[in-house]
Symmetry: C2
């Protein structure tokens, strides 16, 4: 295909694995993509290649979705629209954790186990703090050595785009592409600080929180409200000398969860332990996920939530657009800054400030 | 004053107390106010009367702030601007509670105690669920019989306005009026369901959560994230046979709070018990509030938070304005509804939907 050719030497296709041993990773950046002279993309052909499960095509499609080039954006939407009927058939799992909880080693061990069970597993990352200069956290390929060697795995670094809204949107659309490519399990890793957890909770079916033993101490550093977003708390690194404290910690979390509102109506947030080192407890995690899917599909909350998430996504993007176009106006920015100063100095009421902004 | 005269028979001044024994309540609704033929208000005189602590003038000023009449709105802003230099000198306390926790009886007992200590106490209520038809929760005067008889108390029913944004704004402005009138303690009661707690947390210095004994059971019905908003949890109705379980519950909450992030940086959220019936523990609540004020003023977080709250309020009102003017356009509403349908049916991507809305 003409399209693929010109790109290889420009670094778009990093996943050379299709020709030999691949590493399941594609690190091409939208930046490089942008530099390319615009080419005529055969969108129906690309859509077909994505659907038949060609990993290079999936990578290319994702890069297209991540591109900020206007022509690419339009092509990406045409592609997505073609693929929409084939999306939705996965379980979408968000994974977060306290620092040091071992998210990567969990995803590596858990994802590999699922691949060996015959599942197709896609790993995405959402990192609102990553800058345009790159610095993708999954760039360190060695972190998921075993998983990326699996025939059924697809590991995608986090998009290196700017704003949270942007990353949010791109991760959602990347997820849809992976579903169209036949991936059964989508693991979305939250990275960095800030509000990424809330965003991920808003795009997944199940949200898993990884913690370590010693709940009392470590919870001090845990983000506000994070436990109430979780459908399960997994006490990780439950191996060796850690086995006993892990079991106690599981009980402590059970108690705490009992006090909190469940994240998913009709589902009692679980507390369990696992070790990625010794590969224990991982099958229980999968069994729990199967039970979750069964339960929420039976109650129809599975579909209700997905519809809600899509609707929220639409309305959030409308609000983002309105707010962005307002603040992107440089004279507005100055005006807002000056009014804010006057308000904080007690010269103007907040309402007067808003009225002054919009009376014209 | 001409202004006051015409209104008395129209029900604007319900607080007849200025002439005889008053009940500390003003239940006039903006609706009635709107019906009045527009009159020339002497804003500087009204501002002066508010400042000298005339309760009828404060009531009138609040009614003006709550009015949706365009002329009134402008007058209200002029009034507020005049009074701004005299605002800010109170401790703003938000009070919420699980159903049946006895918020009103607590406010009655606690407020009366403060009045007897020489404090000026204003009680406001925020009720986003209340409709235009009225249904103010503090309408039932008998609920705070003793408090409303206090010379130093001012009890204002919740504004009966429509939207949450509106109530939010009105309660903030009412709070400022009360401060200008010299009230030292502002108690804001959250009422109804929904997000009122988050809104109140965004406008107060201290947020108090009232609960009952038996944490384990009752917490099941507690709103998500509510405990992490609280600066203190008060186990209420700690009297009679309830004394012992209350002490145990206080300890249980201490443990839970230990696991959660504090609501105010530098302040360890407290857990304590009180009885409004036997009037025990109320002085401890006040001592705690004094310590809180001292601590956060020393760290300067007191001022930092208030500035943040004002800034947030300004930006929230900007966003609200942008979103409202977008959705208030009837043709937009239809367009959004149709696009939403197409998106949920899988005919359009979310991005395409947003693009279609804004490409014109």
């Amino acid at each position: 295909m003409e399209y693929f050719k010109g790109m290889e030497d420009k670094g778009l296709i990093v996943m050379e694995g299709v020709k030999g041993g691949h590493d399941g990773m594609n690190q091409s950046s939208p930046k490089r993509f942008r530099k390319k002279k615009q080419e005529q993309l055969d969108i129906p052909a690309l859509a077909n290649d994505v659907r038949t499960g060609k990993r290079t095509s999936l990578s290319k499609a994702i890069t297209l979705v991540e591109s900020s080039n206007t022509a690419h954006k339009e092509q990406a939407q045409t592609l997505l629209q073609e693929l929409l009927p084939f999306t939705g058939n996965s379980i979408r799992i968000g994974i977060t954790g306290v620092p040091g909880a071992g998210k990567s080693s969990f995803i590596e061990a858990f994802g590999t186990m699922l691949c060996k069970m015959g599942k197709k597993v896609a790993v995405l990352a959402i990192d609102p703090s990553s800058s345009l200069s790159g610095g993708s956290i999954l760039g360190d390929k060695t972190r998921m050595e075993e998983l990326v060697r699996q025939e059924n795995a697809f590991v995608r670094p986090s998009p290196s785009a700017g704003t949270l809204g942007g990353v949010h949107k791109k991760t959602r659309e990347t997820m849809l592409l992976c579903e169209a490519a036949g991936y059964d399990v989508i693991l979305i890793e939250t990275v960095g600080v800030g509000q990424s957890e809330t965003y991920v909770r808003g795009m997944v079916d199940f949200f898993l929180l990884l913690v370590l033993t010693g709940a009392g101490d470590e919870l001090q550093g845990m983000k506000k409200g994070i436990m109430e977003l979780a459908d399960a708390i997994l006490v990780h690194k439950a191996d060796g000398d850690n086995m006993r404290p892990a079991r106690r910690t599981v009980q402590e979390y059970k108690q705490i969860l009992h006090f909190l509102q469940p994240s998913t109506p009709g589902w009692v947030s679980a507390s369990l332990a696992a070790s990625s080192l010794e590969k224990t407890g991982l099958d229980e995690v999968w069994k729990m996920l199967e039970t979750f899917e069964e339960t929420t599909k039976k109650s129809n909350y599975w579909t209700v939530r997905r519809h809600e998430q899509t609707r929220d996504w639409f309305h959030t993007m409308i609000t983002d657009h309105l707010v962005d176009s307002f603040y992107n106006n440089p004279s507005r920015k100055v005006q807002v800054r000056d009014l804010e100063k006057a308000i904080l100095n007690g010269q103007l009421t907040v309402t007067q400030g808003v009225n002054q902004l919009f009376q014209e």
